[in-house]
Amino acid sequence: MDILTALGFRASGRNALPVYKEICVLTIFFLVLTLIIHMYRITDFMIFCIYVMSFDLLYGYLGLLSFGHVLYLGVGVYISVLFSIYINSNPLLSLLAGTLGGGIIAAILGLIVVKLDGASFALVNLAFSQIGYFLVSSTFQKLTHGTDGISSRVDAWGFLNFSNEYITFSFILISMLLVFYLLRKLTSSPFGVLIRSIKENETRVTFLGYNTFLYKWITFFIAGTIASFAGGIYTLYVQYVSPTVLNPLDNIDPILAVLIGGAGNLYGAIAGGLLFMIMKDWLSSHFAVWQWVLGIILLIISFWFRHGFTGFVMAIRNYQRKKAVIYDQNGAQG
C-alpha cells in the first residue's frame, strides 16, 4: 500500500464524497452563526476549534492525554510574530514559519514524551509548557519583550488584507475546513484505524508487527503542527500578543472542550470548542470568579457524561433507532 492510500488521499475503493458534504454542512453552519454572534468572536472560536481538533487527534483518537498542549499554540503565535517582525512580514510566510517552527519543536519533544506512559506523559508535557512560558517571558526577553508583549503586524498580500473583517473570517473559515478535511481523511484512513487500535490495546498492535512508537510520534507531530498553525493564524489578525498565550493554566482548555463535545470525533471537537468558548464568554462577563463552574462541569462529565455532547446525541439516536425497530415489529404483528 503506497503512502497516499495509507494516508487516505487516494480512495481505496471507498466513496470519497461524504467529506465534501460534511464540509458544506459546516460552512453553512458557521455562516448562519454569524447572524447570532459577532463575526470577530466567531473568528476566535474557529481558531480555537482548530486547536481543539489537533488536541482531539492526540487524545480522542490516540488516547494520549497531554497537559501541555498550549505550548504548541503559543509557539505558533510567537514564531509567526517574530518572523513577521524580524524577517519578513508577508502573512503567508510568517504563518508557514510559525507552523513549521511548532512542528519542529513537536517533532523533537515528541521523541522524548511519546514513549512515556499516561501519568508521566501528561505531566512532562505540562512541564514543557511551563518551560515554554518561562523561555518566552524571561529568557528571550530581548526578542519577545517578555511580559510586556509585542505588537503584531502583518502586511497585506494580494487580496489577503487581514484588517478586513470579511477576508479574515473567510480565510480562517477555509483554514478550519481544510484542517477538518485533512483530519477526516487521516482518521478514516488505515493510519487512523491504527492509532485507534493503539489507543485500545497497544501491546497487541506491537505484536502485529507495527512500530507503535513511530505512529505515536507522527501523531504527536501532526497534533503539534496543527496547534501551531492555529497559533500562527491568530497572529494574522490580532494586534498584540503576550506570554499569556502560553499560560500553563490554560492547558485545561482543550481538555475541557474535547470532553464537553465528545472525544474521538471531529464534530465533537468543533462542538466542544464552540460550547467552551461561548460558556467562557458568558461566565467571565457575569462573574468575577467563574472557573469553579468549569470545575463542576468537568466533574459532572468525568463521572457521568464521559462521551460529552456528541455522545449524548448518539445515545439519543440509538434509542430512537431501537424504538423504530420495536414499532416495526409491532406493525408486522399488528
Binding site: A119, S120, A122, L126, A127, P248, Q291, W292, L294, F303
Partner: protein, 277 residues
Amino acid sequence: MVESIVYGFTLGAILYLFSIGLSLTFGTMKIINFAHAMAYTLGVYFFITFLRLFPGAFCISTFLAVLCMIPVAYIVERLIIRRLYGESLDYAIIATYAVLLIGTDFIKFVWGNVPQQVSDPVGLSISIFNFIIPVYRLIIIAVAVILFVGLNILLRTTIIGKIVIAALEDAEGVRCLGVNVSKHFSIVFIFGTLLAVLGGILYAPISAADPYMWLNILLIAFAVVILGGMGNLNGTFVSAFVLGITMAITGRFWSQAADTIVFVIMALVLIFRRRVA
C-alpha cells in the same frame, strides 16, 4: 554559597513533605491527585486566618489549620478519589484538576487575590563558621528528617504501614487477601494531605501566599516523584533534596532558571532511563 545550600535543603524539606502524599496516592491507587495542591494552598490560608486571630501563636495556628484540613481531606477522598479507583488515569487527572479549580476559586472568593505575607516566627539566625543561617530554616530541615525516620518506622511496624508497602507493590494481591485497600487508604490519604499542609505552612514565611501558589510547587513535586520513583518514599526523600539544592544553587547564579533546570533534569533522566516510569 552556604546560605544557598541551606536554602536548598529547606526547599528539599518542603518538597519532601508535599511529595509524600502525591507519591503514596499514585503508588497505591494509581491516581495523580491535582487536588493535593488545593489542600496545600487552603491549609496555608486557614493558617493565616488563625494567625490573624491569635497573633504570634504560630504553633497553635498551625495545629488548628491542620485540624481544619482533616475534614476537607476526608471529603475529597470519599467523594472523589475513592470513586476514581480503577478508572482510567485520564479521568483521575481531570477530576482532581476540577477539584483544584473549584478550591482555588473558593480561596479567591473568601480571601481575595492579593498575596499575603507571613513573617518569620523565630526571627533568629545563628552563626555557624561565620555563616549566618536563619534558625527557622534549620527547624524545617529537622522536621523533614524526623518525618523521614518516623515514616520508615511507621511503615515497618504498623499493620497499616505494611498494607501500604504491600499495596504499593501489588494492590490487587492485597485485595485478594480480603483487605479493603480503599478504606485503609483513606487514612493514608489524609495523612499525606496533612503533610502537604504542614509543608505549605512551614514555607509560608519564606514565600508569600496567593491563590496560585500551588502551581510552582506542584510541577516540581511531580518531577520529584517521577525521579524518586512513584510510590518509593525513600527515593522521594533523596530526589526532593537533590532537586531542592539544584534549584537553590542554580537560583544563585541565574535566578530565573531555577525552576527550569528541574524540568531539564527531569527530561534528561526520562530520555536516558531504560525503564519507563
